[in-house]
């Protein structure tokens, strides 16, 4: 089943019904906004939005979608949350498993200080209130990858609550404008990860690897303030960047360090919220928006056809591009939450309440952590805008690609060119080449120094901008050559000889009298033609603005007789 075509207007939080094949009673919904057809790179693609707002036809209902997210981020730590076994992505199966992780009798949980600090840092970065006292609970359910039969989590009183996060959605014709949106953070809690199941359908068995069992997770619950897949995906991306900047999680979705569950419902604006479904297994940045949008459209279709939405858990099938009900989830789960009897309450302190003569190793000071917080992405972006005069959307683009900001800053360090020029070259030319060949910044054949040198040549007007592009292409193709080498090899230097250039202009003017007449008649395009001819004659080695100056000077002075022939020919 192909994913249906989806159209609605996100920023206005209304879903006008799409023009669906065969659905004659559906009108053509239209308004400014985003459309989504999956994701490209880190952010979702918006097709050309309709700019003219049309009134929906009579009989059409508008739909509003509500999306909340539960995001699980693996804490970046050496050892697990409650045991001293190692946290590592690839390792022989069951080699990073302690007796506690395997839930052998007689073992007890011992809390990892680093995980608590990570939770506090994240809570502070998301403007949460840090609960000075938080509690641990057991959440019971049976599954083979949960050896204890329960997960230790924080259900009653989590470590951080009531925060908010600002994220920027790209809108406009070329997605060039950034609108800031806020999503409330309901809570952040510490919990254990489960092991990994490998399903062997052939032999009707499941293979269990407990290496991941007991790894510390931060569950970040975002309130249903988002209204479509793109907003959700952008919020997740921003959270990823924040976690990476803090160092609390590497938040790499491909390695399972960041997992997202979405709670989705639809309703008519003004009416109460609809029944929500939970969509699990959204573990790919690429498909996050797509899956959420599919589910929204599925619910709309279901309700439009007179059906009803079940409060169920669904999973996203990547191959089919649709959500399917999950098996093994019959009815509502009863998790029988109970306090974790082996763990006293977690107490945190601040500068005021810090107990004197305390063992510093045993005490966590929220104020101290706040003082040591690294710079957050939003601050980094603001600084870029202030310092280099770039547009906000450029700052977003620089931070959105791994390693790009560092690349940019290295080029800036080594070049005399204007920051705006550097920004443009890095975001348009450099990034364009990367994307074309699907490379990461770290795999780029062009180094920051090389680009800096190239921009210096351009800045000195030693080469024209079109020549610079040629040099860049060559830099990309052939490693090891410097821009200066390429310029001299390909003879791309701008003509510095003013007189020779004047002679060339004269020659061109003499050779094309009709064009000269056109220019004099006042035809604006004729001058460009002349410039083009001169450029061709110089094999593109002359600066078009200089050519234009010379031509205009000649034309106005009426000097059609060239300099007295001295038997010199112009060397191209």
């Amino acid at each position: 089943m192909a994913a249906p075509m989806l159209r609605w207007c996100c920023p206005v939080r209304r879903w006008a019904l799409a023009c669906i094949d065969g659905g004659s009673r559906y009108g053509r919904g239209a308004a400014t906004g985003c459309t989504s057809s999956g994701k490209r790179g880190q952010s979702s693609v918006a097709q050309q939005p309709r700019i003219t707002a049309q009134k929906p036809r009579k009989g059409e209902h508008e739909w509003a979608a509500v999306v909340g997210l539960e995001i699980h981020a693996q804490i970046s730590s050496n050892s697990k949350l409650f045991s001293g076994s190692q946290v590592h992505f690839t390792a022989p199966p069951n080699s990073l498993v302690s007796f506690f992780d395997a839930s052998l009798p007689g073992t007890l949980p011992v809390l990892n200080r680093r995980c608590v600090e990570a939770a506090v840092m994240t809570g502070l970065a998301l403007n949460c209130r840090i609960n000075k006292k938080s509690l641990f609970d057991r959440k019971h359910y049976f599954y083979a990858d949960l050896p204890a039969g329960y997960q230790i989590t924080q259900q009653r009183l989590p470590i951080a609550v009531n925060g908010s996060m600002v994220y920027g959605v790209c809108v406009g014709k070329k997605r060039s404008q950034v609108i800031n949106k806020t999503v409330r953070v309901k809570q952040i809690q510490l919990e254990q990860d489960s092991g990994k199941s490998l399903h062997d359908d052939l032999r009707s068995q499941t293979l269990i690897d407990l290496n991941r069992a007991g790894v510390g997770l931060l569950e970040v619950v975002l309130e249903p303030d988002m209204s479509c897949g793109e907003e959700a995906a952008t919020a997740v991306r921003e959270l990823q960047l924040i976690l990476q900047a803090l160092g609390t999680s590497q938040a790499n979705m491909a390695e399972g360090q960041l997992r997202v569950d979405a709670n989705i419902s639809v309703h008519h604006p003004g009416e109460p919220l609809g029944i929500r479904t939970e969509v699990k297994n959204l573990n790919s940045a690429r498909f996050l928006a797509k899956a959420i949008d599919y589910e929204i459209q599925r619910q709309i279709n279901e309700l439009e056809n007179g059906g009803e939405i079940l409060n169920e858990t669904r999973s996203f099938d990547y191959k089919l591009g649709c959500t399917v009900p999950m098996r093994d989830k019959e009815g509502k789960q009863d998790y029988r939450f109970m306090p974790e009897p082996n763990l006293p309450p977690l107490l945190l302190y601040d500068a005021e309440s810090l107990p004197t003569a305390a063992d510093l190793q045993q005490v966590i000071n929220i104020d101290q952590i706040r003082e040591q917080l690294p710079e957050l992405p939003s601050v980094t972006r603001e600084k870029l805008v202030q310092r280099y005069g770039m547009l906000p959307e450029h700052s977003f683009a620089l931070l959105n690609e791994v390693g790009l900001l560092e690349f940019f800053q290295n080029v800036i360090k080594e070049t005399r060119a204007e920051p705006k020029k550097v920004t443009s070259w890095v975001l348009n030319t450099f990034l364009g080449f990367l994307k074309q060949q699907n490379l990461a910044v770290s795999e780029s054949p062009v180094t920051p120094s090389a680009l800096a040198e190239l921009l210096n040549l351009l800045d000195r007007k030693a080469i024209s901008s079109s020549a610079a592009k040629q040099v860049f292409e060559e830099l990309w193709r052939s490693k090891g050559k410097t821009p200066a080498q390429i310029v001299s090899e390909k003879k791309l230097e701008l003509m510095q000889d003013q007189e020779a250039l004047e002679q060339l202009c004269h020659a061109v003017m003499e050779g094309h009298p009709q064009v000269v007449t056109d220019v004099k008649k006042g035809n604006p395009r004729a001058i460009n033609k002349l410039i083009g001819l001169v450029r061709k004659a110089t094999l593109s080695r002359a600066d078009p603005t200089v050519i234009k100056e010379i031509l205009e000077k000649k034309l106005s002075s009426g000097d059609v007789s060239g300099p007295s022939a001295r038997g010199r020919t112009v060397q191209p």
Partner: protein, 136 residues
């Protein structure tokens, strides 16, 4: 399972879905419905193997119910008996693990250092599908 025997004994009303709350019995003691027994058996994977087990459960609940006689107005609930202890914070060092062989020893079946489990949760048979017991 004796759940069916319990059902026959208490004769859940036809056509009505009972809520999963204990009903107050004639002497104020608690009666457990068959549905609750079934629910508990699924949740905790315990087997109320006999009428006596159910009766024991009722007595246990009645015993705990006596807590209600205590006036707890204005008193903060206790979280655990450890609640005034210090929660020890461990340094983030790797000190355990690397004992796959030992950990796998307990498993009934092992394939290439993986624990082997059935493909999913095995559902318990539903109440209706259980054997019919003749009750005295």
């Amino acid at each position: 399972m004796w759940a069916r025997a319990v059902w026959l004994a208490f004769r859940a009303p036809a056509g009505g879905r009972r809520g999963l709350t204990a009903k107050a019995g004639p002497q104020g003691s608690v009666r457990i419905t068959a549905e609750m027994i079934e629910h508990l058996e699924r949740l905790a994977l315990v087997d109320f193997g006999s009428q006596e087990a159910v009766a024991r459960l009722e007595k246990a609940i009645a015993f705990a119910d006596r807590l209600r006689a205590v006036d707890t107005d204005g008193v903060e609930p206790m979280e655990s008996v450890l609640e005034d202890r210090c929660l020890y914070l461990r340094s983030d060092n790797v000190i355990e693990g690397n004992c796959a062989e030992e950990v796998l020893q307990n498993s009934h079946r092992v394939v290439e250092e993986y624990f082997v489990a059935p493909p999913g949760n095995i559902s318990l048979p539903k109440l209706d599908e259980q054997e019919r017991f003749s009750h005295s």
